[in-house]
Symmetry: C5
Subunit: 92 residues, 5 copies
């Protein structure tokens, strides 16, 4: 999974009929010190994540393994909200 | 999903028999300020996207989860047209 | 899909038994002006592509969605031969 | 598979209901001399890996092929703990 | 598929129960002139590849399409040993 931060929302009216009601969030990748990277991914929310929250994103076919995303053309899903990282020996 | 912009069309006569009628569009990746990146992907259109439109592209097996792409050798599909991005705190 | 150019063939005698008869082609990635990139992929041909031809390559599980590649350990397939790109506003 | 080292744990209370009980570990990628790279992945543990251990991580749909991860929105799993690498001719 | 060279073996005692008996090889990526790249992947052998041999590696779900890897948490398999590349017009 990717570690990221929700930084916004994508508005879309015209989309695949199975995607009506899906919430597309913009997730910026983070390093282990929560610094934002340039990379981002658009992911569907399955856990009620809000802007500014740190999340995990599952990609590929695994993104379709939630009740919200099943059988839909979605390749990234927010499946967990991060409370904290425990990295006792992280230096750089 | 990838954020991109439709910048053209691929013409192909000789292709897998299941792809007859599929429309291949060239989608250039965008950053969150809609600047074009070097990367691009060829994606099948499932939502009536036209040149110049901002879109979302789903890749991998998820690209086959539309009525147009099901069971076809297609690894990227345009599944949403973007109205706007809402990124209130975007700085860089 | 990836835009590429067929630049050669891989010869292999010892391979998975399901791959006997599969033709492995070397496909170099192209940019939108048909300049060759450093990246390349080995792909199975499903459309009769020959050396020097511009092609589309589908990767991942989608590469197994042709009659030639079904259920085989193949992660890249040439599924279309490109006639031309139509990119009216391409600058850089 | 990716070669990596377990360097920490992700704590998450709010997550997909199928993920309750799953242990999310932070795995930093290694080169063949066990130097840490910048890249990391969050993976579910299926073999009892602990911090500091060298592991293999399988990604994508293959990450769901363990009894612990089956049918869950998980795209990376630790499926082996590495005893040692045998690379007799490694120079650089 | 990836072009690579077998440069070693991974020893692992503690692993997913379905992986007992699987042979994990270290495969370094090659360019088309057989120069070694920095990238490598750990792949399961399905064709009897030995150290120093040039091979093709299939990744993702396609890696599970051999009798040896079926239904296992494996995302890369050696499915062919390369005799030679035929690239008549290769310059750089």
């Amino acid at each position: 999974m990717i570690l990221g931060k929700v930084i916004g929302t994508v508005w879309s009216t015209r989309k695949d009929e199975n995607l009506v009601g899906s919430k597309f969030l913009i997730v910026r990748q983070l390093d282990l010190k929560f610094n934002e990277k340039d990379n981002f991914v658009i992911a569907v929310d399955s856990v009620g994540a809000g802007e500014g929250e740190i999340v995990l994103v599952a990609t590929g076919s695994s993104a379709r393994q939630t009740s919200i995303t099943k059988n839909k053309p979605i390749d990234a899903v927010i499946m967990a909200i991060v409370d904290k990282l425990d990295t006792p020996n992280l230096s750089n």
